[in-house]
């Protein structure tokens, strides 16, 4: 190895990326090459200075708080687990070591491509439009909570909110005052989900926020779904009279169904 090549090892030596044999060889080279020795000393000084002086930007605490509030307390672990246990202990399965993993990868690389393609196809067929919509409304709900811009118009009065949508949507969404049942209307916004406009009505139930999305779907048949829980949020939807409603919240499924009954029930 020439001196010029050895000199390229300065950064690797600095970053602990040389194995012990390589490091010993490099150190020996430093003894004989003043250029490398000076270069290494300078790089070391620079590294020390950068680590000491580069600002470590702290995130604003209100931003962290918003993100904390918006994410559900416990994100269910990936896998078939249905309900997340109310504990903070996260147990991870024992992952293979890096060495085993790379050996595995090597062994699998031949069939990997074909397998991945097959899996992707299965996955793609597996994701129904309903799944996609569920994901989309959950994300919209979380994004609104996180941004702190939950509504465009704050009001508890359906008579204020309903006309606000005039000219913004091609339907007049029905808006109900459900405060007598513990669901307080707090505001509304215009949202855009899955390439469609939607009215989003925001209700509060105890400390929980509920978003009720209303889409205009003139040709949708009458239907109703059971609540599903996705990433800690309960979601359900129904269609009737040319409108499709999606509702999402971190309340439990029973309360969500109670809310659905109130929304769909007689005024």
């Amino acid at each position: 190895m020439s001196c010029a090549e050895k000199c390229l090892l300065v950064d690797l030596a600095l970053d602990d990326e040389l194995d012990s044999a390589g490091l010993a060889e490099f150190e020996q080279h430093l003894q004989q090459c003043p250029d490398c020795a000076v270069g290494f000393a300078r790089q070391k000084a620079l590294r020390g200075a950068l680590r000491a002086q580069m600002p470590r930007h702290k995130s604003p605490s209100e931003l962290i708080q918003r993100i904390r509030d918006a994410l559900p307390d416990e994100v269910p672990a990936p896998g078939p687990q249905k309900t997340a246990p109310a504990t903070n202990v996260v147990s991870l399965p024992a992952w293979p070591t890096v060495a085993t993993k790379s050996r595995l990868k090597l062994a699998l690389s031949g069939i990997g491509g074909a397998l991945a393609a097959a899996l992707a196809t299965v996955w793609f067929m597996h994701v129904t439009p309903e799944d996609r919509m569920t994901q989309a409304v959950v994300e919209s709900h979380v994004r609104a909570l996180m941004s702190g811009r939950m509504y465009d118009i704050a009001s508890a009065d359906p008579k204020t909110i309903k006309p606000w949508f005039t000219g913004r949507l091609d339907v007049a969404p029905p808006v109900k005052d459900l405060s007598a049942h513990g669901f307080d209307l707090i505001g509304a916004r215009l949202d855009y989900i899955d390439n469609r406009r939607a009215a989003a009505l925001i209700y509060r139930h105890n400390e929980h926020v509920i978003t009720l999305y209303i889409f205009s779907t003139p040709s949708a048949p009458m239907s109703e779904s059971d609540p599903v829980v996705r990433q800690g949020y309960a979601v359900c939807h129904w269609s009737s009279h040319g409108l499709t409603d999606w509702v999402v919240s971190d309340i439990d499924s029973d309360e969500l169904e109670a809310f659905e009954d109130l929304v769909t029930g007689p005024v």
């Binding site: 010029a4 990326e17 270069g39 300078r42 918003r66 904390r68 992952w95 994300e139």
Partner: protein, 176 residues
Amino acid sequence: MVLPHLDAAYNFARYLTRNPDDAADVLQEASIRAFRFFGGFKGGSVRTWLLTIVRNTAYTWMASHRRGQVVASVEDYGIERPLEPFAAVPWERLPDDPETRLLLAEDRAALMDVIDRLSPEFREVLVLREIEELSYREIAEVTGTPVGTVMSRLARARRQVQENWRRHVALEGGGR
């Protein structure tokens, strides 16, 4: 799981966007993406995984919210040239070593300026290495580049910081 790494994520976003407001928006969007893709998390380091998401989000963000700043491309900086070996760089031996001066906690703003002026490819590897103290392999994972590229970009980034810092010191009248 993601929450303990939000500070690291914000810091990285801040260096990538060079702006606190954009960094906040990027962090928010990245948290949502992390939340969405959590099922796709395959184990390993959560921090590395989150930083990868932050990086992708930041680049998408900057491409669509570009505020009159042109993001320099790799080609502009000639990064594809082979790296010159150390000994080939002529070092003028100043008695008042610029690196020593950097240690004196002076001119933090000037240092920040030098780092901000690096191209994004150089800035990100420097931050991941010197602040997050990730290994080459982990940096390669976050940036989606081969380890060899990480190696050469990091070396170049350091050379560039060094040269620009020397220039700054020289302009200031050789220290003091």
